[in-house]
């Protein structure tokens, strides 16, 4: 199963990178979302996976009974998910704003629109 998941992660990365390399802003945005999905999954998987037992201590016990899923990567991924949610929302707003100010989705047009203010002239 780990190998299958690793391939899935690879697939997600491939899709994300392909999207990020497009000229269209909205595609880049989707690429970034996929990238963070892939990364979250990577953290989750590479620290090892187990089925079923969630890291919740049962009502009658004081310590977590074995076997259990590693709680730390879960906490990390949760943090990462929330952070990337914030970043995504911001990036979305930025894309929208950029689109509104340049009226194009094409990054190359954005470049030429900003000529004189951007890069070498």
């Amino acid at each position: 199963m780990e190998i299958i998941l690793a391939i899935m992660i690879g697939g997600l990365y491939a899709a994300a990178v392909y999207m990020i390399l497009r000229r269209s802003l909205v595609k880049i945005l989707i690429g970034i979302v996929l990238l963070s999905q892939a990364t979250n999954m990577l953290i989750f998987v590479s620290s090892g996976i187990t089925r079923g037992n969630s890291p919740v201590i049962k009502a009658e016990e004081t310590v977590l009974s074995q076997p259990h899923a590693d709680p730390l990567p879960q906490a990390l991924v949760l943090t990462a998910i929330v952070i990337s949610f914030g970043l995504t929302a911001f990036a979305l707003a930025l894309t929208y704003r950029a689109y509104k100010s340049v009226k194009t989705d094409d990054l190359d047009k954005l470049r030429s629109a900003a000529m004189g203010g951007e890069e070498n002239v």
């Binding site: 969630s54 919740v56 929330v82 914030g86 707003a93 929208y96």
Partner: protein, 138 residues
């Protein structure tokens, strides 16, 4: 979206969802849930309301500026971390009080609880802010 059914459904769903959010929050320490999920659920409920009635009405329902919600949430989390400093412990150390509940195991309340509450406010506030602004400006 001017669906009548949606509007009516949401009007009744809203209190339920908010209640569910509080439940998620409270059980979060012992069962899956907690400040993040609860904040998101609370925000989701108001988001649905926003979709149905628009951001203006939703803001009225919320009655405070989301920025205030965010700020106070952050402040709450920060202060809950500062309390142990006053007691000479490192920042964010847990300070616990046992609240005896008759005929039951005592309920532990401590600074992490308030910290989680801060998280709840921030997550709810931020998500609502996203939704409101996207609704209003886009």
């Amino acid at each position: 979206m001017n669906s009548f059914i949606l509007r009516v459904t949401i009007r009744y769903l809203l209190p339920l969802l908010l209640l569910f959010s509080i439940y998620t929050f409270l059980r979060g320490h012992n069962e899956p849930g907690g400040g993040f999920a609860a904040g998101l659920i609370a925000a989701a409920s108001l988001s649905l309301y926003t979709i149905a009635y628009g951001a203006k009405r939703a803001r009225q329902v919320l009655s405070i500026d989301p920025r205030f919600l965010i700020g106070s949430g952050l402040l709450l989390a920060l202060i809950s971390g500062l309390i142990p400093i006053l007691m000479g412990k490192p920042f964010l150390s847990g300070v616990w009080l046992k609240i005896p509940i008759p005929r039951n195991t005592p309920f532990d309340i401590g600074t992490p609880f308030f910290f989680d509450l801060g998280v709840f406010f921030v997550v709810a506030g931020v998500t609502l802010m996203f939704v409101f602004i996207f609704e209003e400006e886009i």
